[in-house]
Structures are given as structure tokens and as C-alpha cells.
Assembly symmetry: C2
Homo-oligomer: 313 residues x 2
């Protein structure tokens, strides 16, 4: 494997307590940066760097597990106190979830400090943190090829000015459909996308969970379905795995073009599909690049129409 | 345009009263057979035959409009009484609808009589009518290449034995996701599809409205997105237009294969996308084959990933 473009991921590292229809799971490794890094490293191999914070209670073995996949964890700060913890309950069809408890703990004071060796990362993925912190990261890195960011309704409604600054500073925004609607104030996603792209990001990905994802750029719109799975166990982290898979593909290719971003959408969707097949990151931790190649081939056949779509005459 | 395989469509012809967020519309031309025939004739040209029933109140001009597009309406019976009428109200986001009134009128006693000249139709599309009537049509036609059918929750729960017989007699079932779940008793669509296909139809299309459509056959699964539109006015008839577009493409090609059915899915989705752009069938009545070619090209670019999806090494 040739060496990939370095990818910097900044975001949460957490413990999740998951109440699933199939059972309860406690102290599950979680966080946006965790899922994204596991996904990107599967696609790109070594070259992913994580910046985040964990508490004194966070097992070194979890960081070692990331490192064993080629993820650089020197940017993971260990602070006094407890690790960020989220407790959620999913509906019986996994279509919705309720937050039962959020304990920010050490994440409350998280202020990303990018190690000197990471400041030249070619690619940057800003997880869903305070928009001011996202801007702060952008100011610490040096001329990346592409900066991508996630955000959420909490910042859209609560920090519109800071978020507007983020949008001006990034190349790619990766959000879900409800976030796109709230951010733009427009229900129709095509018009919402046009509105959001005018505010800064040239590229926009709108995730729709089991209904697939849309990407908008100067070349037009592109759609990738969610992979139709026989069993879905846990949607936690699927969006972050999607973002990590997408960025991992860009890292592996080492360049960015409309064609490459479209192919990256398949890798994004493939990593999202692996993620939901296990509780927490268990499936992501188990799959191999051979599994990924098989999943990508299945994806390709799912949309393979054979080429000639001219009107029959 | 070469002559297409003859396509027989059996189903409702109706007046719809539509309470849309954008206004109220009365006496709108409707019915599954109407939408399907308008869609198929746009793709295939002449060769679509409609069997249905209308009342004394049904304007001859509506039938003339179908005939002007090459649709054979000699199988449309004119009965004493009023035409089938449906009154529905859509939610503000068009995501759901409530039936305010249904007057079956002449449709209550509809018993399809296939004209002798139509019994050799190569392709048959059975609209959502009583499953016993669907079987009755299958018994009247002679060795068609493919029989497709729609159905609904009302028959799934109320006429399971008759519907089971339909499933044994058809090649392609075209239903929506909730119908697939109710019919199979399985929430997961991949497993629901496997269950339904075991009951008879080799091919199954599951429609998911704005979220696209899945097709399952012996060659695997195939997905086509819904076209991302800037404005949706009225979803009425979209599913029937989808089915008509699909069958129209098969008629135009004159053969059936996994590759052709996959291409047909794009024509199905394209006709569904035209349908929702106008109130009732207004947009379907206005679009040209040139418009269709443009829409199909846009669809192709929406899923065009450039071919090589092998893992970056």
C-alpha cells in the first residue's frame, strides 16, 4: 500500500451506554473521532491522526487498538477526570433514538491543540464540536488540500454566527437531512443544498441514514444508496464512519476531483454499512480490507445499470 | 420509433379531489391505469392498452387525450352511474395523506373484460384491484412475456388467500415498503424481499417514494434513487407512473433481462419524478420525449461514479 495523504481528525472520544432493542451495552467505545478514524484507517491504511481528549478512566488498550490500525494517537490528550459519556436508547426499529444522559466530563473543556507534526495534514475532518473550536483548528493547520466538517442542530440554532464562520472556512460540509433543513430554513433538499453551498462549502454531503446520501458540488448532484443489509444492530457512529470512509478514500487517492469525490461516497457508505452491523465499533474493528473490497463490489452491482440509458426508439 | 411490445394495463380510472398545501383541486383526472398509461406511452409510444371502467359523467375528452398519445382505450367500459372518485388531503410537507372520501361508484362492480384483440398482449400490468380480479385477468390473457402487479394493505390483510394466488401467477410485484413489510411480516426489507419472492414473483420492486426504489431478482439487488427535485407539487399517481414507466421501457425494448429491468428502473423513476412536478397528471400530459431524454441523462449523472471502484492501494 502506498502511503496516503495524512488526515487529521478532530472530535470526541467517548464511552457510550447503549440501550438497544436487542440488549443493553455499557462502556462501549464511542465518539465521532473514534468511528471516523477506524473507518478512514481501513480505507487508507496508516496516516490518520486523531486529536481529542480522554479522561483518566479511558483504557490505554483502546488507544492501542487505534494505533494497531496505523492511527496516530499522539494528539489524544489525557485529562484529569472522566471521559465523555453518552447514554442513549433506540426505538424498536432503530429508526429513532432518545438521549437519556450526557456527561461531557473532560470534553467540556476540550480545546484542540494540534501537535506540530500534524499541522501540515493534507486533509482535515472537523467532528461535531463547538464551531469556535472548529475555526480554531482551521487556524492551526497549514494549507490543507481540503477541510471537511460536521455540525449539529445544537450549534445551528445556538451559535449561528460562529457556524457561519466555519462554513466560510471549509470545503466540504457533511450533515444529515434535518440539519440541512434547519441550517438553510428550506425543506426541499435541492434548494437547501444550493443555499448552504452559497455560504461557503463548495461541496456538501447530506446523509439520510438508511435512505442513502446526496452530494452536491460544482459538477452537479450525486447519490449513493445505503447498502441494503439483512440485519442492522446499532446505528451509533454510522455517520462518523461514513465521514471517515469518505476522507480515508480521499487520503488514499491523494487528490480531489469530482470523479474522486463520487467514488469516495461509495467508500463512505460502505463504512457506514459495516458500522451498523455491530454494536458500537465492534464490526468496524473486525472487518478487513478484503471484506471492504467485497462490500464495495456489492455496492457497485447495486447501482450497475449497464451504461446505455438512451431512449429506446 | 419502432413498434413496441403491446402492454395491457388494467386498473382504475378516476376523478380525484386533491387538497394540497398549495390549494384545492377538484375533478382531477386520476386512477392507477390513467397514470400508468400516460407514463408507458411516453416511453414506448403506441402499444399501451387500457382496460377499466368510467361512468356516464366521464368526459370523452379525457379518453381522447389518452388516444392522442397512442393509448388504445377500446377496453375502457362506460357504465351507468358515476366514475370512481377519491378525495384526499396531503400534509404540508406532502409526506403523508389522509383519505377524506372514497366513492367507488361504477368501480365497485368492475369486472375486467379483456377485448379479444388485447388477449395476446406481451406485457400485462395489473393495477391495484381485488386480487380475484387480477387472477381473472391473468386467466384471460394468452402467454404474456411478463405479468406485473400492484396491490395494497387492504388486500394484504383482507384477502390473503386470493393475494397468494396472485403472487403465484405473476412475474413482477411492484409495491411500497410498508406493503412489503405487511405482506411478509418482516421489517427488514432485504429479508422481506426474499420472503415475498419465494411466494411467486421472480422480480420484486419496492418503492420508497422520495427515497428511491429497490429491485430484487435472481441477479441480486438494484437501487435507483428518486430524482432530487427543486419542487414537488403532488405525489398522487407517482407510484403508478413509476410502474407505467417501467413497463413502457420493457415494451419498448421488446425483451426482458436483468440488464434491461435495471435500465427500466431509471425510466420508472424518471416518470415518477415528472408526475410529482404537477397537480394530478398535468405534468405527465405536458412532457415530451425530449424532456424525458434530458431527465434520464440527469439521472445517469446522479449515479455516475466513473467505473473503477477498486480499493486504492
Amino acid at each position: 500500500m502506498k502511503s496516503s495523504d495524512p488526515l487529521l481528525i478532530v472530535g470526541s472520544i467517548a464511552f457510550d451506554d447503549l440501550d438497544m432493542p436487542t440488549g443493553e451495552h455499557r462502556d462501549v467505545l464511542g465518539g465521532a473521532a473514534t468511528y471516523a478514524a477506524l473507518a478512514s484507517s481501513l480505507v487508507a491504511g496508516p496516516g490518520t491522526r486523531v486529536v481529542g481528549v480522554v479522561g483518566a478512566d479511558f483504557p490505554e488498550a483502546h488507544l492501542a487498538s487505534l494505533r494497531s490500525r496505523g492511527v496516530d494517537t499522539t494528539g489524544v490528550e489525557r485529562a484529569q477526570g472522566q471521559t465523555f459519556r453518552w447514554h442513549g436508547r433506540y426505538s424498536s426499529d432503530l429508526g429513532s433514538r432518545t438521549t437519556l444522559d450526557t456527561q461531557l466530563n473532560v470534553f467540556a473543556d476540550f480545546s484542540p491543540k494540534i501537535p506540530a507534526a500534524h499541522k501540515t495534514s493534507s486533509l482535515v475532518l472537523l467532528g461535531n464540536i463547538h464551531p469556535k473550536l472548529q475555526v480554531d483548528v482551521v487556524e492551526q493547520v497549514q494549507r490543507p488540500k481540503l477541510v471537511a466538517a460536521d455540525t449539529m442542530n445544537f450549534w445551528i440554532s445556538g451559535e449561528p454566527a460562529a457556524l457561519a464562520e466555519v462554513l466560510r472556512r471549509i470545503d466540504l460540509l457533511i450533515i444529515n437531512d434535518e440539519e440541512a433543513r434547519e441550517l438553510s430554513g428550506i425543506h426541499n433538499l435541492v434548494r437547501a443544498a444550493a443555499d448552504i453551498r452559497k455560504r461557503g462549502p463548495k461541496m456538501l454531503v447530506i446523509k439520510r441514514g438508511e435512505f442513502g446520501s446526496l452530494m452536491f458540488d460544482d459538477a452537479g448532484a450525486f447519490f449513493v444508496p445505503a447498502y441494503p443489509l439483512e440485519e442492522v444492530l446499532d446505528p451509533t457512529g454510522a455517520g462518523d464512519s461514513f465521514a471517515g470512509g469518505l476522507m480515508g478514500y480521499l487520503a488514499a487517492r491523494g487528490e480531489i476531483s469530482p470523479g474522486i469525490i463520487r467514488k469516495a461516497m461509495f467508500f463512505a457508505a460502505a463504512l457506514g454499512s459495516f458500522c451498523v452491523e455491530g454494536i458500537g465499533p465492534s464490526r468496524l474493528l473486525a472487518v478487513t480490507r478484503a471484506d471492504l473490497a467485497v462490500r464495495i463490489a456489492s455496492f457497485a452491482s447495486l447501482v450497475e445499470h449497464g451504461g446505455d440509458l438512451t431512449l429506446p426508439v
